[in-house]
């Protein structure tokens, strides 16, 4: 069986599960970021369209191009290599199953996939932690580290640098609220408890954080 993961905009050759590395082989040159990104987005649409007609090779390429992002996101939310591999596999099977229902007029392939992956990861976190309530002290201890890890664990590349800059344009509290909600998998109420802020404030900070980031990244839906 073929065990290679070919280079895409997000795959590496470090085989350790759960180890946070970032390698972006196709972006080590200096392509104009926006054109390269558009071409990549178009290519992903082509791949998912072919996958929806049963082409497993197109799906394999889609996996190669996206799995570092999808798996990385799931690991980040779940922090468990075992759960993450399982959830990642479920997510890709689901993407395959629903490939004909992806609608490019509603958004990018990557957003569609990421939404599905994030939702599943969060569902898993909540179902696991509802059995053993998440230790409040642990959560508090890791707040700072959470935010730091997102900042430190990333190599400087053009694409990543854009997003980092976007995060840097937010206020500290917006960044913290968004990070805890999106990467931490906490509900807005839990974020409010962790940050000792009123729920309404947290809600606003998360939304403002996304608005700030959206504007900084120049994302058009």
């Amino acid at each position: 069986m073929n065990m290679n993961i070919s280079a895409g905009f997000g795959s590496g050759d470090t085989p350790r599960a759960g180890h946070r590395t970032t390698q972006l082989p196709s972006q080590t040159g200096q392509p104009p970021p926006s054109r390269g990104r558009d071409a990549e987005a178009e290519h992903l649409i082509d791949l998912i369209t072919r996958a929806s007609r049963g082409h497993e090779d197109a799906f394999a390429e889609l996996y190669d191009l996206t799995s570092a992002r999808i798996y990385g996101l799931i690991v980040r939310v779940l922090r468990s290599a075992e759960h993450s591999a399982e959830v990642t596999q479920e997510v890709y099977v689901e993407i395959w199953r629903q490939s004909a229902r992806y609608d490019s007029s509603k958004g990018s392939v990557l957003a569609w996939m990421t939404t599905m992956a994030h939702r599943r990861a969060v569902d898993r976190v909540r179902s696991v932690t509802s059995e053993t309530a998440r230790d409040e002290k642990y959560a508090l201890r890791t707040v700072d580290r959470d935010v730091d890890q997102v900042w430190d664990g990333v190599e400087q590349t053009l694409d990543v640098e854009r997003v980092r800059k976007g995060m840097g344009s937010l206020t500290a509290i917006q960044r913290e609220a968004l990070t805890l909600a999106y990467f931490g998998g906490y509900t807005q109420s839990q974020v409010a408890q962790l940050l000792k802020l009123p729920l309404g404030t947290v809600k606003t900070r998360i939304r403002d954080g996304l608005i700030g980031l959206r504007d900084a990244l120049g994302v058009e839906a």
């Binding site: 065990m3 591999a85 199953r97 004909a100």
Partner: protein
């Protein structure tokens, strides 16, 4: 701006609890402003994933590709289905397993949740088959009952750079696999549905050294009747093959029935 609009960020970040989510989705179905923001924020959130990229374990690729062979892609949604508004952005953030992105009502939500549960069982079942057929399954349902240490070891094996799956069949046709990492000098026998061999017999695992006969390996006998995962924890680095046979005597030093041998 009314209070409910404000939850749009938390909705995209999946930071609403189930009641809040239901409430927001009712609003989303009738609010074009929020629909547009959901679409935009979903793109933004997708970009955040570039900050946390991590290469998946190498074997996940073959696991995914072998499990999709058991799953038929759904047909496209009918053009003039319940989704009257063609550019309803909300659908993108609501990727329920049945693929519907129709406006949300209580009944639909309940139906979707039921589908989700049924589906994950179906996926789990498909994965068991995939594994036995030579694909790879990460953890299956048993994971929750497995000791943490053992689960960690399993993950280590499955994510070893040289991990390979060798598939074979028992004489009665039951599919079995060995997951092997020579660098770790460990292997795991996996049978998704091992029948009871009958007559007080057991299954026994063997290691075959180069140019020699089969030798017992580790804690190596197990009974039939269900799915089995059995570790082979030593001597695997030097083995030329692994084997399983049906035995009456758990302590027999050599196979007494024709073993199923897998060269590694």
């Amino acid at each position: 701006m009314s209070e409910i609009h404000g939850a749009v960020g938390s909705y995209v970040a999946n930071a609403l609890d189930p009641d809040e989510r239901r409430e927001f989705e009712k609003h989303l179905a009738v609010c074009p402003t929020c629909s547009r923001e959901v679409a935009e924020f979903s793109e933004t959130a997708a970009e955040l994933s570039s900050l946390v990229q991590a290469p998946p374990p190498p074997m996940l690729r073959s696991a995914v590709l072998s499990s999709i062979q058991q799953v038929r892609p759904l047909p496209p949604l009918p053009e003039d289905g319940p989704e009257a508004e063609p550019r309803r952005a909300a659908g993108m953030a609501r990727t329920e397993p049945d693929g519907s992105s129709a406006p949300v009502d209580e009944l639909a939500l309940r139906r979707q949740r039921r589908t989700a549960r049924v589906l994950s069982l179906a996926v789990a079942a498909a994965m068991v088959v995939a594994l036995a057929m030579g694909g790879w399954v990460v953890n299956l349902v048993q994971q929750r009952q497995t000791q943490a240490a053992e689960a960690a070891l399993e993950t280590q094996l499955l994510s070893a750079p040289d991990a390979k799956v060798y598939a074979s069949k028992m004489p009665d046709g039951t599919p079995v696999s060995f997951v092997v990492s020579k660098s770790m000098s460990k292997a795991m026998f996996v049978g998704a549905d091992m029948p009871d061999p009958g007559g007080d017999q057991l299954y026994k695992l063997w290691m075959v050294p180069p140019g020699a006969g089969a030798q017992p390996v580790g804690d190596n006998t197990f009974s039939g009747g269900g799915s089995r995962k059995v570790w082979m924890q030593s001597g695997i680095a030097d083995a030329a093959g692994l084997a399983v046979s049906v035995e009456k005597d758990a302590n027999t030093p050599q196979p007494t029935t024709t073993p199923v041998v897998v060269p590694i």
